[in-house]
């Protein structure tokens, strides 16, 4: 018969590994930390009685925090998705925008009638008012979103940089004017002056239901420098951020429609 206690203790003693290197490394790390912090605090004191630890409670707290974080992440993702979806819906209301531009006669070369202000002194008479308008009437020509109709456009500042790089949204009327003048010229309007943004007219009354209601429309006007006839230009901003002419009509009592963009017509 063998002594149980002696045999068992001896057996365990034979299995004891050399832990000195680990202990020494731990001591060195502690000393380095103590030097760095300048304190002699210890993280967990050695106690002569077992501390009352409730691992279940800790696990619950961690679990709750994890769940809250997961829910918050889901809400953020959902909010971002809804926002992008709403924006995409509103901008996709003019699906034929690209087709309209392609169907409209284009004049890719810069026409004489839309030279920049630095060339105003050399420009023909009819372009001078435009140049002046760019310089002097900047504040009044600044694009002002109309309540309701342009609400989605107002959301553009909250877009992320990557989104705003994809969707070019003209903020000012000047941006739209750069797109509209060549189109007007291609339609035969060459003697344009006083080309300004109209923010006081009833926009929808100018469309005569020719244009779909779900298209976001804006209105500008200009005067023929030769005949002094005034015209309204109903336009929209397509998915690429470029302005497309929808309707050109006289601003007098007749209200004759001189041009309708076939790509935006009511089906």
């Amino acid at each position: 018969m063998k002594n149980l206690e002696k045999e068992y203790k001896d057996q365990i003693d034979r299995e004891v590994p050399d832990l000195w290197s680990r202990i020494e490394a731990g001591v060195d790390a502690y000393e380095a930390e103590k030097k760095a912090s300048g304190t002699i605090e210890s993280s967990t004191p050695v106690t002569e009685t077992p501390t009352n630890i409730t691992p279940i409670c800790k696990k619950n707290v961690i679990s709750i925090i994890t769940r809250i974080a997961a829910i918050a992440a889901c809400v953020l993702i959902l909010a971002a998705t809804v926002k992008v979806t709403q924006r995409t819906k509103s901008e996709s209301a003019s699906p034929a925008a690209d087709a309209a531009m392609s169907e409209m006669p284009q004049n890719t070369a810069e026409p004489d009638s839309i030279r920049r202000e630095e060339e105003a002194s050399e420009a023909p008479d009819y372009i001078a008012p435009i140049a002046e308008a760019e310089v002097d009437e900047e504040p009044s020509n600044t694009y002002k979103p109309i309540a309701g109709a342009d609400s989605d456009k107002n959301a553009s500042p909250s877009l992320s940089p990557s989104e705003s790089a994809v969707i070019k949204d003209p903020v000012t009327f000047d941006d739209a004017r750069d797109d509209l003048l060549p189109q007007l010229e291609s339609l035969g309007f060459k003697l344009i002056k006083d080309f300004v943004f109209e923010d006081s007219v009833d926009k929808r009354s100018l469309t005569d239901d020719v244009i779909s209601d779900d298209i976001d429309i804006r209105v500008a006007s200009f005067t023929d420098s030769k005949t002094s006839d005034k015209y309204y230009v109903v336009y929209t901003v397509n998915d690429d951020g470029a302005a497309d002419i929808l309707i050109v009509r006289k601003a007098d009592n007749t209200g004759d429609i001189l041009y309708t963009n076939p790509s935006y017509k009511n089906k």
């Binding site: 002594n3 203790k9 590994p17 004191p45």
Partner: protein, 184 residues
């Protein structure tokens, strides 16, 4: 190691001399490891806790009161660290003792006839211990390796002391059949 020697080692530690810790390590590594192993029952955990024990001894050497019985002091700290570890990471082990069913209480009966005293198989101690059920192993480990009283084991396992002593006796009977006796 005498009390005076141990006190000198603590003084060396307080001065930042690692040799003081090394001397305690050389004298008590086996003892501490055995106590810890008796509670946690795992070599890996026992190594971790034993290492941590000596590091904490270095960190909190100033808390030791000279002449207060260093061996009991070391054993108490080692035991408590092991118990804390078990409560943290092995709660299910402790719970298994508190959720006993009637089936758990009925352990493989050991005959009380004359064959009880016979050695039926001469095997190594590790193998013999391995033939006990886990609950018996834990009580044997705590009693023999960690040198705990039945009351301490009962408190830790949250199990009636009568059950602890009964299990211990059953385990001793089984071990006797493998050639091991308990020195009373």
């Amino acid at each position: 190691m005498t009390e005076a020697t141990f006190d000198a080692c603590i003084q060396a530690i307080l001065k930042g001399d690692k040799q003081g810790l090394r001397d305690i390590y050389d004298a008590y590594l086996d003892y501490i490891y055995r106590i810890v192993y008796g509670v946690v029952g795992s070599r890996e955990d026992a190594e971790d806790i034993t290492s941590e024990f000596f590091i904490k001894l270095w960190q909190q050497a100033d808390r030791y009161k000279a002449g207060s019985g260093h061996k009991a002091y070391l054993a108490t700290i080692a035991r408590n660290m092991a118990i804390d570890h078990t409560r943290k990471y092995k709660k299910e082990v402790l719970e298994s003792f508190t959720q006993e069913s009637d089936d758990d209480v009925v352990i493989e009966p050991v005959s009380s006839d004359n064959t009880e005293a016979e050695v039926i198989e001469d095997i190594a101690i590790k193998e013999a211990i391995g033939k006990l059920n886990p609950k018996e192993q834990q009580i044997i480990n705590m009693k023999i390796l960690s040198e705990m009283t039945f009351q301490e084991i009962s408190d830790i396992l949250k199990c009636p002391m009568g059950t602890v002593t009964w299990r211990y006796r059953e385990a001793i009977k089984k071990l006797r059949r493998y050639g091991y006796y308990e020195e009373s």
